[in-house]
Assembly symmetry: C2
Homo-oligomer: 344 residues x 2
DNA sequence: CTACTCACTGCACACGTTAACAATCGCCAC
DNA sequence: GTGGCGATTGTTAACGTGTGCAGTGAGTAG
């Protein structure tokens, strides 16, 4: 029995080779279950390896294989629950596929985003997933520079990237708005995300399209923008509340904005949904535990993360079959208790 | 001007050496700003490097330096907002210190936790941070096996590990409970986390200690357990509501549990805080946007994450000065509107 | 007996970087 | 002229793993 825990340096195949009285290549082959090595020696080698606590060095292996089996994930901030869900899906799939994931927050600072991608480049990640990027324009050049596959998830930025998975913003917004229209609302506000860019535009135009197709007109005094956070959602709602007439319903860019808006309404003593209905977008876990539980458009966040990873892995193994450039997921309207017909 | 984007393989220092007509070691030195190389050649080399889009290979560098400048972070799940905040702090600090972070979810499955740590071992991470581990017992052996530094953050598990940062559970719980006692509550419930282990025990005993020191007795019918999630928080509260007499206040293991509990109360039409006061623990962003805004014990989650990374980096550079084994952070009671005096 | 095949193993190099050591050159003091 | 020194550069060997190629036997067919 070996004493594996004492040596400071990790044991290598050469150490094992010395003990087993074979060359290090035989060890390498044995540990990778190559048919080229005699079963009995292979077994002996594997025994020594496991007793000595041997762990193959992924870094040495990566050097020769030119594949690190590593991917980089860039998020604005992992503290955002939306990104948490997405990354959870990515990591889960990556784990099953044998990839490790580097996580980096860009904080939406272009300078930092650059640093992060450079670091990924040096680490020789096999691929990159970028979620909810707001400064994606910078990527365009970096992309072809690195020529490694990149998959975008809900990229907010205009511009066409080769591979992306995203939610169908327009349709989701349309469904949500139709729900409010069906309830009889005709004075509906919208709280957007001023940094949401394309994503915000698409939801906004879905909203507008729904109004137009029912002949309901838009009310400029009930249109406001936050930045996708609770805090700014609340602030935006407060601005709307200062103006008259008040809307009877508000559709929000995302759940966080909606939760913030609801908090502003509560603070003013305005009842939801009796006086104002609220609709969000995302279906964060918190949405169903809000009071009242939030009507929203569900994004399959984890699933989208998994799919992004799947696509990336597909690109890495050269199987482009069954991979479309742009995959759109459908949102699902989840009706809860934050919406009701307006009182006459 | 070079055409960097065409070659499939990344450019190496040897490529640069060939172009600059020097040896690869001179290139290596020049790029690392060694004083050993003539300023003019150094400048020329740096020019070629930048024009060719050269990026040093961290994997090759790691192989010779035996330092990857990489750390592994194990969380139960990154979809948990608490972990999101913590990891955000860790990543931020790591980034500034020149470390990249591998993220892995254990999902509290021992088998998966093992796989994850093995993968970190193969990747030759310089250190590991484990947050909110519920199966930490398994780590004990793995730890010394790997002999790389490990820092625990809010480790739920009994057993003493060398380095950890955690919240002062007992004191936080005591403050929260005292707040309720000060308001005049005498029938106070507790909703715990059955998997919270030590962390739950400490909060529970802080709760009990506060009651005892005021001579208020515990009410078994108002004691329940969830698993730290909204869903189970709601379920636990529903169980309490089936029993009489009802408590006038409930202290919850964490904010998620509290949010779930509030949702259950709302569903039954029970008013907060008029009929039942609710207190949480963590101060997640969602807590201040709940309705009513949640009274809770704030954990400086990001800061704790940063500190854990700082400690780890300290251990890695051998500066043990100013590093205590176990660092405890103080929680801060944040009084919002989910608590009030009981009606007589 | 020879030649050939088969199963297994070792040798040597490659991957991209760092670093210890050697080498070269110009210059200065003796 | 010679020796030494300082500045700059090159040579070489690692780091741990994978792999093409050569080598070594043993067994077998001719």
């Amino acid at each position: 029995m070996l004493r594996p825990h004492t040596s400071s340096k990790p044991v290598s195949i050469k150490d094992i080779a010395r003990i087993a009285n074979v060359s290090h290549s035989t060890v390498s082959r044995a540990l990778r279950n190559s048919p080229l090595v005699h079963p009995s020696t292979a077994e002996q080698i594997r025994k020594i390896a496991s007793e000595s606590g041997y762990r193959a060095s992924a870094v040495a292996r990566s050097l020769v294989n030119r594949r690190t089996h590593t991917i980089g994930v860039v998020v604005t901030t992992i503290a955002d629950p939306f990104n948490g869900e997405v990354v959870s899906g990515i990591e889960d799939k990556a784990n099953h596929l044998g990839y490790s994931v580097f996580l980096a927050n860009s904080k939406s600072e272009p300078e930092r985003e650059l640093r992060v991608v450079h670091s990924f480049e040096e680490r020789r990640v096999d691929g990159i997933i970028v979620t909810s990027s707001r400064v994606g324009a910078h990527y365009a050049d970096l992309l072809e520079r690195m020529n490694i596959p990149v998959v975008f998830l809900n990229n907010h930025n205009p511009g066409n990237f080769a591979y992306s998975v995203s939610i169908d913003d327009g349709n989701g917004a349309r469904e949500a708005t139709n729900h409010l229209l069906d309830l009889g609302h005709t004075r509906i506000g919208y709280i957007g995300d001023e940094f949401g860019l394309r994503s915000n535009e698409n939801r906004l135009s879905g909203f507008r399209g729904a109004l137009r197709s029912r002949g309901v007109k838009e009310h400029a005094e009930a249109m406001e923008s936050g930045d996708g956070s609770c805090a700014e959602g609340a602030a935006a709602m407060e601005r709307i509340l200062k103006r008259t007439p008040l809307p009877t319903a508000v559709f929000c860019y995302n759940d966080q904005t909606a939760l913030g808006a609801m908090s502003a309404l509560h603070a003013r003593g305005i009842r939801i949904p009796e006086e104002i209905s609220v609709v969000g977008f995302d279906d964060l876990p918190a949405a169903s535990y809000a009071s009242p539980p939030l009507t929203t458009v569900r994004q399959p966040m984890e699933q989208m993360g998994r799919r992004a990873m799947e696509i990336l892995a597909g690109l890495l193994s050269g199987e482009t079959a069954g991979i479309e450039g742009v995959e759109k997921f459908d949102g699902e309207l989840i009706v809860r208790r934050s919406t009701a017909s307006p009182k006459k």
